[in-house]
């Protein structure tokens, strides 16, 4: 099954999303901020989708996106921002930096799973 990377500084969110995804058959990796996320993406060629928070310590999600923009495009690796933010400027910035989606927390399980299934299948 595809591997999904969850990048979020909240252990609660990482646990919640991990459980949902593993119960649905996905393999899951976790990172606590953008720096860990970047390292995980570079070290794991089998990551099929990234779910990423925006506001994180050390490095936020949008900064992580910008730092990996070329690599993400080359790998066709989809990134969906998973955040409490609905700010249109941030959404536009994410889109410009290569994100392919934006999901506002708290999310509905079925919607998150639908997004993950759609984007990991499209990438196969």
């Amino acid at each position: 099954m595809p591997k999904i990377l969850i990048v979020d500084d909240s252990p609660v969110v990482r646990t919640q999303v991990s459980k949902l995804l593993t119960d649905s058959g996905f393999e899951v990796a976790q990172a606590a901020d953008g720096l860990e996320g970047s390292a995980s993406i570079r070290e794991n060629a089998d990551i099929a989708l990234v779910l990423c928070d925006v506001n994180m310590p050390r490095q936020g999600g949008l900064e992580m996106l910008s730092s990996l923009q070329t690599e993400l495009a080359e790998r066709h690796l989809p990134v969906v921002m998973l955040t409490t933010e609905g700010d249109p400027q941030l959404i536009a910035q994410a889109r410009k930096s290569g994100a392919c989606g934006w999901l506002v927390k708290p999310f509905k399980d079925n919607i998150l799973l639908s997004v993950c299934n759609k984007l990991t299948q499209a990438n196969q």
Binding site: D9, N55, T84, G86, G101, W102, V104, K105, P106, V115
Partner: protein, 179 residues
């Protein structure tokens, strides 16, 4: 931003309503019914966890806080299928995420009324409310699990006016956009 003037009473009411909506909707998202204090449920005095998140903009600057009893955090953790039983660390982490979500809701609702601000990272605090009552807005809500209180302690620009709420078509909680 310079120190704001005391709020007009209609502004206090408007912001109170927004804060109340944020807290009620947040708890409802986890299946927890809450009501304004004084209605139906009563709350026994129990230790509380307080989390805060700073917000700042050109017209608004201050802190959003969420103070919750252990019972309500345990109930929320259960709704998330969290660790059972949750440790104190789990509950502190959860309260950080909840205040983050309250601030996010506040941001969405106030943006549709012409007010925007940035949100910092959340933190756990020891509760020490501001001494000045001029610009504190608080709403304490109780349920059968315990209580949760949202506080907004902010300085506002003296010429601030809240627009009527508009549907700006921007994503709300639970919405997804695929580019």
């Amino acid at each position: 931003m310079t120190q704001g003037a005391p709020l007009e009473s209609n502004m206090i009411t408007a912001l109170q309503d927004v804060l109340t909506d944020c807290c009620v909707e947040l708890m409802a998202a986890y299946g927890i019914e809450v009501q304004a204090e004084g209605q139906r449920f009563s709350d026994a005095p129990t230790p509380k966890v307080a989390a805060a998140i700073d917000i700042h903009g050109t017209q608004l600057d201050g802190t959003v806080m969420l103070v919750a009893t252990r019972g309500i955090l345990v109930a929320t953790n259960s709704a998330l299928d969290g660790t059972d039983p949750p440790s104190d660390t789990d509950l502190f982490d959860l309260s950080l995420e909840l205040v983050n979500q309250v601030a996010g809701r506040l941001k969405t609702k106030l943006r549709s009324r012409g007010l925007s601000f940035q949100v910092d990272l959340p933190r756990i605090i020891s509760l020490k409310p501001s001494n000045t009552k001029a610009n504190i807005i608080q709403q304490r809500l109780v349920s059968s699990f315990g209580s949760v209180a949202g506080f907004v302690d902010i300085a506002l620009a003296p010429d601030l006016i809240l627009d009527d709420e508009v549907d700006d078509g921007l994503p709300k909680e639970g919405d997804v956009i695929l580019f």
